[in-house]
Symmetry: C2
Subunit: 336 residues, 2 copies
């Protein structure tokens, strides 16, 4: 979905990024190098598309999470760099397929694969990235990485399928919403924490805590992204917005808005959602102004960020741990 | 692509199937059971689609190849049954994505996922099957299976991407055609031979010979399928035909037809291919009648079947080996 976070942490994230750079800059570069080498093909067509999609890349949230949790949980090893490339590749695969599902035109100010080439190329190219990531994961010594990655990506797909099924359901419950984003977004960030800790040799309790950290963080990030899709600025975010409304996907702010509106207002809002137009976002604005929906959504996201931070208590006080805590704060503060 | 063989071996294959049943019937049933158990989901939507696609299943060419080569190369172990379920799942994933690429309406007399649900569901469901197959492969003890499967499926995607790129290229060479089908079809049948032999404990030379057997067989099968797409009967094959022409994908019979036609005929044929219509297949028939294209195509396929059979020389004379040889013959004799 275009509303899935690309992990773009924008200009406000500069202080965090500087800290990340200082702490795991070299390892991040190594992971980047692995990704670039893996994503090169002797087939000129494949190579063209590969070249193009590297321009989608955001601030590399998932590799950063994986490497930072590794650092915080015992130290970064070669496996972590490979796995950082793997999770980024999986993320790219989901973005390419999301864009074809959403008929999105741009991604990070760049034409999507479906817009630049066609839907067929997008579908196959997403498959190419998925299978490539699995192949790369299988270069590790044990099957642990493959198992965890296979399981998590499968859950991601199931989450996305549920989302498709619930499209147009204007009675979607908060619970169902959370189940969907837990699958489509949080499962992969949870995987980053889990793999980071496991391959650093951390004990099971730490692995589980960092998996939860990643999960709560992913949920908070996704909620923030859903708010952006409703209220964001296309120029700043660099992607097509309003696609949740266009695709009749209910997100937390809308669910709360409908739940708390008067019957008359709720009916009017439903009418707007049933017939999405270019300016539906603007038409919804007055309802949001009279509702606690945005404050409530923000509060839920903040609570999740706090839950994420709490998981870090199992770790010794290191710079990596401090940055992980800051990323949790940032996830819900960004407005772009 | 709808022209990718489903492995439907139809009624003429009855004697072979009876032999298969006798030889590896129990193991095939075990693999089937693993597939069914794996392809069950607590999510009712996912479960519905899963239920639906089991109706696409053909004669299980890939699991049969994997189990027969295992039997012929040393004996079937538990790993083979798991891997047989894995390759069938991958094959199903490619069929689901092929149908969305081809806008196909039916597959084995059943509505395709895109026709019954929508393109989004098809894309995600294919992803679901891909990731599930990798997860299942990672349940094995070593990473060998994951590595070989990751590599092969990646090559399959690259082959399909090349095919998309060459669509509309009416000057496609035979060499380019063979490169495409080697990727999109033969890589997976080669994988079946390789995995069958490797997990049976066969020595490297045998593993490589059975990989080649699978590759030649896959090429022969695909050529036969491409002929069917041109000349077949929709009722018998149970799928939408003529889609290669509709999608302007040049296959071996058409490449040969164009190469050997007079300039005037070649121009007329190109015009037909540039503006595909419902009855383009019929309009091409007189050109085929005056050409060696079909005989030549048949000859190429037969030669490949023979090459496949020759690879079996490394094996001791067993019933499994004999059936593998018969499958090679059958691959090019089927007309449905």
């Amino acid at each position: 979905m275009s509303e899935r976070s690309t992990g773009d942490t924008g200009s406000k994230s500069a202080p965090i990024l500087a800290l990340v750079e200082e702490t795991i800059g070299r390892e991040l570069l190594d992971a980047e190098q692995i990704l670039i080498e893996e994503l090169s093909s002797s087939n000129p067509y494949v190579s063209d598309v590969l070249q193009h999609i590297t321009r989608f890349r955001g601030k590399r949230l998932r590799p950063i999470l994986l490497l930072l949790t590794a650092q915080a949980a015992g130290g970064i090893r070669h496996e972590h760099k490979v796995l950082a490339a793997v999770v980024e590749m999986i993320h790219l695969a989901t973005l390419v397929h999301d864009d074809v599902l959403d008929d999105a035109e741009t991604r990070r100010h760049v034409a999507t694969v479906n817009a630049r080439w066609n839907n067929e190329t997008s579908v196959l190219f997403g498959d190419y990235l998925f299978t490539h990531s699995f192949h790369l994961a299988s270069s590790l010594e044990t099957t642990y990485g493959c198992r965890m990655i296979g399981r998590a990506t499968n859950i991601v797909c199931e989450g996305e399928l549920s989302q498709i099924k619930e499209r147009g359901n204007l009675d979607l419950s908060e619970e169902a919403y959370f189940r969907i984003i837990d699958g489509k977004t949080a499962e992969l960030t949870a995987l980053c924490g889990q793999l980071g800790a496991h391959y650093a040799g951390a004990e099971l309790a730490v692995v589980e805590a960092l998996e939860r950290y990643g999960r709560y963080l992913g949920l908070a990030f996704q909620i923030a992204d859903d708010v952006l899709d409703l209220l964001g600025n296309e120029r700043k975010t660099g992607k097509t917005l309003g696609s949740d409304i266009e695709k009749q996907k209910l997100t937390l702010p809308l669910i709360r808005l409908l739940n708390r509106a008067s019957e008359a207002d709720a009916n009017a809002i439903r009418q707007l959602l049933l017939h999405p137009e270019e300016n539906t976002r603007e038409k919804l604005a007055p309802y949001f102004a009279n509702s606690d929906a945005l404050a409530y959504t923000q509060q839920r996201a903040q609570r999740l960020a706090q839950d994420a931070r709490q998981q870090l208590d199992v770790l010794p006080a290191t710079r990596a741990r401090r940055i992980l805590a800051e990323i949790a704060d940032f996830a819900v503060q960004r407005t772009f």
